[in-house]
C-alpha cells in the first residue's frame, strides 16, 4: 500500500508530469476565475489535447484543471462581486462584502487558506475512507435527496439579509424558474410557449451570470463619471495575513464544512455548488458570534463555503474511482478521458490500473499544495486588474459573460436569456431584493421537485417514504429547525413580514 503511494508520488513528480500539473492548474485557475468559462468547460477544452499524452500525464493535467477551476472561481467573486463558478455564489455574498469594506486581501487570504485546507482534507478522507464514503453516498435515494434539498432551501432566511419577506420572494421566483422547461417525470412541456428557447429549461449558469455578473456591471455603470479609486480598497497582502487564532475561533465550521463538502460532492446529481450552499447555510444557522453579520461580510460564511466547495472535489473523485459513477459535471468529463486511454472507470479499476488510481490520489494531493503558491500569483494578477478603469474591465467581463452563455450549448438563445436575467437582476437590486435565494432555489428547485416525485412514484403515492430513513429524518428536522428557530429567537428577523 505504502509503496504504491511512494511510487505514485515519484511518477507525478517526473518533470513532464509536474509541467502538466502546473499548466493544468494555471488553466483551471483562469477558467475558474472567468465568469463565462466553467470548470467542466475548462476540462472539456483540455480533453482533446490528452489524446497524444501518456495516461498519467493526461490525468495529472486534468486533475490540475479540475482543482484549479474550483479554486479559481472565487478570486473574481471576492474582488469584483462576479462569480467565476456557480459554486462561488456564497463567496460573492460574504467575500465581496468584506472587499467593499476595504478587507479584500484579508478575504482573499481566508478564501485561499480555506480552499486548500478543504481540498487537502477531502483528499486525505478519500485516501483513508474511499469505501466508506462510497457506501454512504449510495444510501441516498430519492427521499434522501429530497430531504437534502429541503435543508438547502431552508437556509433562505440566512441568505436574506435584511428582510425575510424579500428573501422568500426571491426564493419563490427561483423555484418558479426551476419549473420551466421539459417536465423530468412526464416529459410534458411547461411554460415553453411553444418555442425551443425554453424547452431545455433555464440553465442556472445562464441565470447566475445574468443576475449577478452582468447586473453588477449595470449598477456600476450608473455612475460612470465618479472619481475612480480602483474597484475595491485593500491593504498589502503581507499585512492582512490572517492569524491562526481566527480559524481556531471557528473550529466547528472548520471541521463541519469539509465533511459536508466531501459527502455532498460524492452524491451524483449534487456537487460543488450545492455543497457550498449547504455548508454556508449551516454556518449561518449555527453562528454563535455575530449572526447579524451574515450577508454583510461574515468571515465564517466565507470559510464555510470555501472549505466545502473545494472539499467536494475529493468526494466526486472518490465515487468516480470506486464505482465509475461521476459525482459532478466535471468528473463526468473525466470518464471521457478514461475512455480515450482505453480504461473503464469502475470497481475493477483499482486492480487493473492501480498506477492510475494511486497516481490520481497523489496528483490531487500535490496539486492542492501547488495551488497554494499558484493562486497567490493569480491573486496578485487580479489585484492589478483592479487598477484598470472599471469601464474597460467591465466591457471585457461583459464579453466573457456573453461568450460563456453561448458556449454552454453553442446557442444564441442562452445569450438572450442571460441578458433578460441581467435586467431582472438589475431590478431586483434596485428594489433591494437579494439575488442569492433566487439562484439557490433555481439550483435546488429542479432536484427538489424531481426527487419528491420520484420518491412518491417508488412508494406508490405514500408520503411516509419521505421520513423512511434516519438520514431523511435528520436532514428534515434540521430544515424544520432552521425555519422555526428564527421565528422564536429573533422577532427582528421578521421585519417586513
Amino acid at each position: 500500500m505504502l509503496d504504491h503511494y511512494l511510487q505514485a508520488v515519484a511518477t507525478v513528480l517526473l518533470p513532464h508530469n509536474l509541467l502538466a500539473m502546473v499548466l493544468g492548474s494555471l488553466w483551471g485557475l483562469l477558467a475558474g476565475a472567468l465568469p463565462g468559462i466553467s470548470t467542466s468547460m475548462g476540462v472539456v477544452l483540455l480533453l482533446s489535447f490528452t489524446y497524444s499524452l501518456s495516461p498519467m500525464t493526461a490525468f495529472v493535467l486534468l486533475v490540475g484543471a479540475y482543482l484549479g477551476g474550483i479554486t479559481g472561481g472565487s478570486i473574481t467573486s471576492i474582488l469584483f462581486g462576479i462569480p467565476g463558478e456557480p459554486s462561488s455564489v456564497p463567496t460573492v455574498i460574504e467575500g465581496h462584502a468584506l472587499a467593499k469594506k476595504g478587507r479584500a486581501t484579508f478575504a482573499l487570504w481566508v478564501y485561499l487558506l480555506c480552499s486548500i485546507y478543504g481540498g487537502l482534507f477531502s483528499v486525505v478522507v478519500m485516501i483513508v475512507a474511499t469505501p466508506l464514503i462510497a457506501s454512504f453516498a449510495l444510501k441516498f435515494g430519492p427521499a434522501e435527496y429530497f430531504a437534502l434539498t429541503v435543508l438547502g432551501l431552508s437556509v433562505v432566511s440566512g441568505l436574506s439579509g435584511g428582510s425575510m419577506l424579500k428573501g422568500f420572494l426571491s426564493c419563490f421566483f427561483g423555484l418558479f424558474l426551476a419549473t420551466i422547461g421539459t417536465d423530468g417525470i412526464t416529459g410534458e412541456e411547461r411554460y415553453t410557449f411553444d418555442t425551443t428557447i425554453l424547452l431545455g429549461g433555464i440553465n442556472f449558469v445562464v441565470a447566475m451570470v445574468g443576475l449577478l455578473a452582468v447586473s453588477e456591471i449595470f449598477i456600476e455603470a450608473e455612475e460612470p463619471f465618479k472619481e475612480y479609486k480602483g474597484g475595491v480598497q485593500y491593504r498589502g497582502m503581507l499585512r492582512e495575513f490572517p492569524p491562526f487564532s481566527l480559524f481556531k475561533g471557528y473550529l466547528l465550521t472548520m471541521i463541519r464544512s469539509p465533511i459536508i463538502g466531501t459527502i455532498v460532492g460524492a452524491l451524483p446529481g449534487a456537487g460543488a455548488t450545492i455543497a457550498a450552499f449547504l455548508s454556508y447555510g449551516e454556518a449561518a444557522r449555527t453562528a454563535k458570534r455575530e449572526p447579524e453579520k451574515f450577508g454583510k461580510g461574515a468571515v465564517e460564511g466565507l470559510m464555510a463555503a470555501e472549505c466545502a466547495n473545494n472539499a467536494s472535489t475529493g468526494g466526486s473523485m472518490t465515487i468516480l474511482l470506486s464505482l465509475g459513477i461521476p459525482g459532478s459535471n466535471t468528473t463526468a468529463m473525466m470518464i471521457a478521458a478514461f475512455m480515450i486511454h482505453g480504461m473503464q472507470p469502475g470497481p475493477l479499476l483499482l486492480s487493473t490500473r492501480p498506477d492510475i488510481v494511486y497516481g490520481i490520489f497523489a496528483s490531487m494531493l500535490l496539486t492542492n499544495l501547488l495551488l497554494l503558491g499558484l493562486t497567490i500569483l493569480a491573486i496578485r494578477m487580479f489585484l492589478e486588474l483592479n487598477r484598470m478603469p472599471y469601464s474597460i474591465f467591465s466591457a471585457a467581463i461583459m464579453i466573457l459573460c456573453a461568450i460563456g452563455a453561448y458556449g454552454l450549448t453553442n446557442n444564441m438563445d442562452d445569450v438572450y436569456l442571460m441578458f433578460a436575467f441581467s435586467l431582472i437582476g438589475y431590478a431586483m437590486r434596485k428594489f433591494d431584493i437579494p439575488v442569492a435565494p433566487c439562484i439557490l432555489a433555481l439550483v435546488l428547485g429542479d432536484m427538489a421537485e424531481l426527487s419528491l416525485r420520484r420518491a412518491l412514484l417508488l412508494s406508490g403515492g405514500s408520503p411516509l417514504i419521505l421520513v423512511g430513513s434516519p438520514i431523511s429524518i435528520v436532514l428534515l428536522s434540521g430544515a424544520l429547525l432552521s425555519i422555526v428557530y428564527p421565528l422564536f429567537k429573533k422577532p427582528k428577523m421578521l421585519q417586513g413580514l
Binding site: G200, L267, P268, G324, G346, L348, N411
Partner: protein
C-alpha cells in the same frame, strides 16, 4: 509617384485575378469544413461516437470537419437547427433513436422522416436488463414471476420520460406480460447509484455503460436484448432465448437535410463509409462493444428501418397514453 500608382493597380489586378481563379478552382465540394451537429452534450454516447467517426474523416477532407454540440429539447433543438441550414451538404445531423420517437409527435417544426435524407446507419447498440448484484432475483424468470404477482411492484429507472428509455423498458416488460413502474432520473450516473443503493429494482439500459459494474459483480444482467448471446456476457441469456420477442436497440445514424444534391450525399456517404474502416474507429467500437450487432445500413435500408421503428414507437406511445 506615377510609377508607384501603376504598380499598385497592377498588384491589385493580379491579386484579384488570382483570387477569382482560386475561387473557381475551389468551387468543388467541399470547399469549407463540414459541420457534424451532435444534438447532445459533450462526452455522452452520441458525442463520443460522432467524434470517433470524425477522426477518420479528418484525413479525407482537406478543409476539415467540425463536431459541434447543441443539446436541449430531447435532441430536437439540434435537429431543428440543421433543418434550418441550407441543404448544401455542409451540415450533417447525428441522428439517434430519440429523433425517431420525436417523429411520432414532433416537439418542434422539424420532423426527421419528412425533413431529412439518411446517409447511413452507423451503430446498433444492445441493451440489457440490469439489477443489483445482491438482488433476490437470480434469473429473468424469477423477476417476471414476481412482477406478475405484484403489478407495478417492479421499479425500473430510465432517463427519458416518453423517450427511448421508457419505451424500451415498458415495451420489453409488456412482451413478458409484466407491468412495471417507470421512474425517470436525470442521468445514467444517478440510475447506477440508485440501483447499487437498493432504491430501485433495476434498469433496461445500454450494456456498455454498465459493463464495468457487472464485471465487478456489483450489478448483474439478467438478459441481453438481442437475437444471440452477447460475447462479453456468455452466461447471460438473450431475449429471443427466453421467449420474449423483442430485440430493439438504440441506433445511431447520420443524415442531411432533404434536398441536398445527390452527388454531395454520395460523397458524404463514401467518406463516412471509409472512416468506419479507420483503425481508430474500429478499436473504439470494439472497446465499447458496439460491433456486436452489425450497425451499418445504406441510405435506402436506413430509411426503411426508420419507418419500421417509427411505426413501432407510435404503437407503444399510444398504449402508454402519450399520443392519442
Amino acid at each position: 509617384m506615377r510609377k508607384v500608382k501603376t504598380l499598385t493597380w497592377v498588384v491589385f489586378l493580379v491579386s484579384g485575378l488570382a483570387m477569382a481563379a482560386a475561387n473557381l478552382m475551389a468551387a468543388e465540394y467541399p470547399e469549407r469544413a463540414i459541420e457534424i451537429l451532435v444534438p447532445f452534450g459533450a462526452g455522452g454516447g452520441s458525442d463520443t461516437a460522432a467524434r470517433a467517426v470524425a477522426e477518420g474523416l479528418k484525413p479525407q477532407l482537406k478543409n476539415g470537419v467540425v463536431v459541434n454540440n447543441m443539446p436541449g429539447g430531447g435532441a430536437t433543438k439540434g435537429m431543428l437547427y440543421v433543418s434550418q441550414q441550407p441543404a448544401d451538404g455542409y451540415s450533417v445531423l447525428a441522428v439517434t433513436t430519440s429523433h425517431l420517437i420525436d417523429a411520432v409527435k414532433p416537439k418542434t417544426r422539424s420532423q426527421l422522416l419528412r425533413d431529412f435524407d439518411p446517409l447511413c446507419r452507423i451503430q446498433w447498440d444492445t441493451s440489457a436488463v440490469t439489477i443489483s448484484g445482491d438482488s433476490q432475483f437470480k434469473t429473468l424468470t424469477d423477476l417476471i414471476e414476481w412482477g406478475k404477482k405484484n403489478p407495478k411492484g417492479l421499479k425500473f429507472a430510465g432517463t427519458s420520460p416518453g423517450g427511448w428509455s421508457e419505451i424500451q423498458t415498458v415495451a420489453f416488460f409488456k412482451k413478458a406480460g409484466v407491468e412495471v413502474t417507470f421512474v425517470p432520473f436525470d442521468s445514467g450516473a444517478e440510475i447506477k447509484a440508485a440501483i447499487l443503493g437498493g432504491h430501485i429494482t433495476g434498469a433496461v439500459e445500454e450494456l456498455a455503460e454498465t459493463l464495468p459494474l457487472i464485471e465487478a459483480g456489483k450489478l448483474k444482467s439478467l438478459c441481453v436484448i438481442m437475437e444471440t448471446r452477447h460475447p462479453a456476457l456468455p452466461n447471460v441469456p438473450c431475449s429471443k432465448e427466453v421467449g420474449i420477442d423483442y430485440t430493439h436497440g438504440l441506433m445511431r445514424a447520420w443524415a442531411v437535410k432533404k434536398g441536398t444534391p445527390p452527388e454531395r450525399q454520395k460523397f458524404l456517404l463514401d467518406v463516412i463509409t471509409k472512416s468506419l474502416q479507420h483503425p481508430m474507429y474500429v478499436k473504439f467500437i470494439q472497446d465499447e462493444h458496439l460491433d456486436v450487432r452489425p450497425g451499418y445500413l445504406g441510405p435506402e435500408e436506413t430509411r426503411k428501418y426508420w419507418e419500421e421503428e417509427v411505426n413501432f414507437f407510435s404503437g407503444v406511445l399510444k398504449e402508454l397514453g402519450y399520443v392519442k
